[in-house]
């Protein structure tokens, strides 16, 4: 089973349509395909071939897109490296993936030492050799590999095939719709599935991507007001910062803007309501690297009465709870569908990612009577205190509801008495006594769930997608 080469087909079918824009420059699908073919010729000249595994380390830029699209034409497997990782972490991934080459953005060259390193400037400066793209791509072709930690803390390289990305793009379209005029604002890292999936949708839909080199609340608010974009992917924190700018500068949002997909953990309902007041529809999603982005999505119409839910599966997907006998029973979330990775590479290559066709996510959740998914907690963050299960997200939600709290993070601390106890870190909007916050918690949750310590901090540890890293909180203890 094959697909027509997505880049060639898009250039053929909608060559004059916008493919990418960055600052003041635009590329149509025809133009970006020409650039991609040129880069494919340059990469070929440098020794990169079909089925070569290349690691790529870059910051968001058109150049990064050109290199990736060139690799797509050549037929490479792309290991997407996170530019915020430390040298040792990068070394682990390059080593584990047995990457044949490491393609590195010049601004990041200090981060990697590798005999097979090729700087972006060298690619650009290389004369391309004649290159003929493949007409078809196999569905099972590995397009990208992304490392994710999971329960063990040892990052595993997740394979994402052409079919994974295609299913993901189509399922999302069947959920929220698509139109030839759509333009997706991309401020998420391109090396994460949140950003990379925007590029895949671009090729599959024939959709424009408006690329920013990083998230900046004011620049994003300006895009929303200008009506230059129709969609955007956010996490709770970035949404809140944009809402603050919109409020502070008394800005409005163009009616051309349609939908935000919110990933990386639950977005407070207060944010969704504030967004709605600007006409912005925010869809809470649940997904992961192993599912090439969203698997379930909550519609705005359901947001108010299904607070905390991640919604229902997309059309091609199924979700069930391991061992659940009835609605409300908690257990591990299992996922089935064509978006699920066929497996890992490197030292985890032998590990089965699916059992009987179902991905075991390691996350705990339940389905309510109507089939809405509630993710109770990431299993790896579960705190077990005196035999009771304590879910950090639940405590954070309570803290976040306090007007003085902007951000909250909770993790487990060792305790002689209880095994583990929850402790909290908060970032404030305005001054408040920690005792007041603890009293506030006591009023709303069982005493064993109330943080035993609460520290006020400047920032919380987050990854490049702004997802809270609870494990790093533990290192602060």
């Amino acid at each position: 089973m094959t697909y027509p080469n997505w880049l060639s087909q898009r250039a053929h079918l909608s060559g004059s349509r916008l493919a990418l824009s960055f600052q003041e420059t635009q590329w149509t699908f025809s133009e970006i395909n020409d650039v991609a073919l040129e880069y494919a010729g340059k990469l070929t000249a440098l020794g990169v071939q079909k089925n070569t595994r290349v690691a790529i380390l870059a910051k968001s830029s058109p150049e990064f897109v050109f290199v990736m699209y060139g690799c797509l034409h050549v037929g490479c497997e792309m290991v997407m490296l996170n530019e915020r990782l430390a040298r040792a972490e990068l070394s682990y991934q390059i080593d584990d993936s047995s990457a044949d080459y490491v393609l590195v953005d010049d601004v990041l060259k200090e981060k990697v030492t590798d005999s097979q390193l090729i700087l972006f400037s060298r690619i650009k400066g290389t004369s391309p050799v004649p290159f003929t793209p493949q007409k078809e791509w196999k569905k099972e072709r590995t397009i990208s590999i992304m490392y994710t930690s999971g329960t063990t803390g040892n990052p595993k390289g997740v394979r994402q095939t052409a079919e994974n990305h295609f299913s993901s793009a189509v399922s999302s379209a069947l959920n929220i719709g698509i139109s030839p005029e759509d333009v997706w604002l991309c401020v998420m890292p391109l090396f994460h599935i949140s950003g990379f999936s925007i590029l895949m949708r671009s090729l599959i839909y024939g959709m424009g991507v408006r690329l920013h080199d990083k998230f900046d609340a004011s620049s994003c608010a300006a895009e929303l007001q200008a009506g230059r974009v129709t969609h955007m992917s956010v996490v709770g924190v970035t949404l809140e910062r944009m809402l603050d700018v919109l409020a502070a500068d008394e800005m409005s949002v163009s009616p051309k803007f349609k939908t935000m997909l919110a990933g990386g953990g639950p977005v407070p309902v207060a944010y969704i309501q504030r967004a709605a007041s600007y006409g912005i529809s925010v869809l809470q999603t649940y997904g992961m690297t192993e599912t090439s982005s969203q698997t379930t999505t909550l519609q705005p119409a359901d947001a108010a009465q299904k607070i905390g839910s991640s919604g229902k599966p997309l059309f091609l997907y199924q979700v069930k709870i391991d061992g659940a006998e009835k609605a409300g029973d908690k257990g591990e979330i299992l996922i089935h569908g064509p978006q699920v990775t066929p497996g890992y590479i490197g030292r985890f290559a032998d590990r089965n990612v699916q059992e009987d066709g179902w991905l075991h996510t390691g996350d705990v959740g339940f389905l309510d009577e109507e089939g809405f998914l509630f993710v109770v907690d990431r299993r790896s963050d579960l705190i077990v205190s005196g035999g009771e299960n304590v879910y950090p997200a639940e405590i954070e939600k309570v803290l976040l509801a306090h007007p003085a709290v902007r951000e909250a993070g909770v993790c487990g601390a060792p305790s002689d008495e209880w095994g583990e106890v929850p402790v909290a870190f908060v970032v404030l909007n305005k001054p408040v006594e920690t005792d007041e916050l603890l009293v506030y918690c006591k009023e709303q949750i069982a005493s064993y769930k109330v943080p035993k310590r609460l520290s006020i901090v400047e920032t919380l540890p987050r990854n490049a997608s702004n997802k809270l890293l609870r494990r790093e909180l533990k290192a602060w203890l």
Copy 2:
């Protein structure tokens, strides 16, 4: 590889959305799924089971949809019978398909005598037995079987799988876009791929279908004006009649209306321009039963400078010209993609429908420098009359069976009303009245296939191999 059961999944994901409307009655996806489950229980009670092959003969109505959706739940293969066929033609298809049951709309009961006949009224009156739907459908499951003639004049039963229909729906969405508010006006026969594919899109997109029991230009114009529908499938003749009504009654078309897909042969550019004056975008398509509807589509923006073209392939599809070395070279049109039938049933079950993965259409065409497809000549001199395919060989076979006829040749003649109509030329063995021959035809083939004129001639034009040259018949008109 599987899909979640489309009916169950739609009821689960968008149960409150409009699924079907007919006259003043509406059904949501939840409601229509309940009806479908009830019908599945009734059909089960009557002996219909998973993998049972049922032929269905009906006129467009909600009841017809209920029976089909019931069959989908049960897991039947549905042989879609054309209600305009003559008794002998229906018998052939029922026999060739080895249908286990024939489900017949009561208003058509005179058309079929079969021991395994079950009238719709009997289905409706049967008490359902408990029924549990399958959770998943295999991609290679045969959903529908439609008979189509070819060069030989013997209709062949074409299998259309779940993957064929899914690919077709998704490819169309990637071309024209989809939105949760879309409603497709269905006036095409549900037993044809043109109408049936609207139901498949409804389930896959979660899209509403506005069903009419037949095409009526005034009723359709009223729907367009009322803004109750966003899409519609047409053929040249129906489009022209609607335009006449819009003009005569000085009507306007709601801005909510988006797109018409035009199949069944080329639509005159004048119609497309007249439609544009009402804000209607008409997309010329090329497709066939073997490709589960459209394979190529011409965008309105290209209509003026690509007069006569059927456009470019949809995203997942490829088209090439057999033996062509450069743009403009004519040859047989070959098609590749997941929408292509895996093959035939019945007496043609052994015939390869694909060679090296490419469907040989029998149509002749060329691709221009920009890759636009031009269909020069239809397979076996196909006559398209009011959107129905009429195969000359099939009519010639009937004429040749008459003892007075030695040779017969049929071709299409232009018709203001139908686009084209069949006309016949015969060489006689012995004297006979032309009226007698026409009455003879009427007994055996659908009335739209009966020649509108019949001329007695001395000889028919043949090539050196004695093959009938139907194109030369046209010159005699």
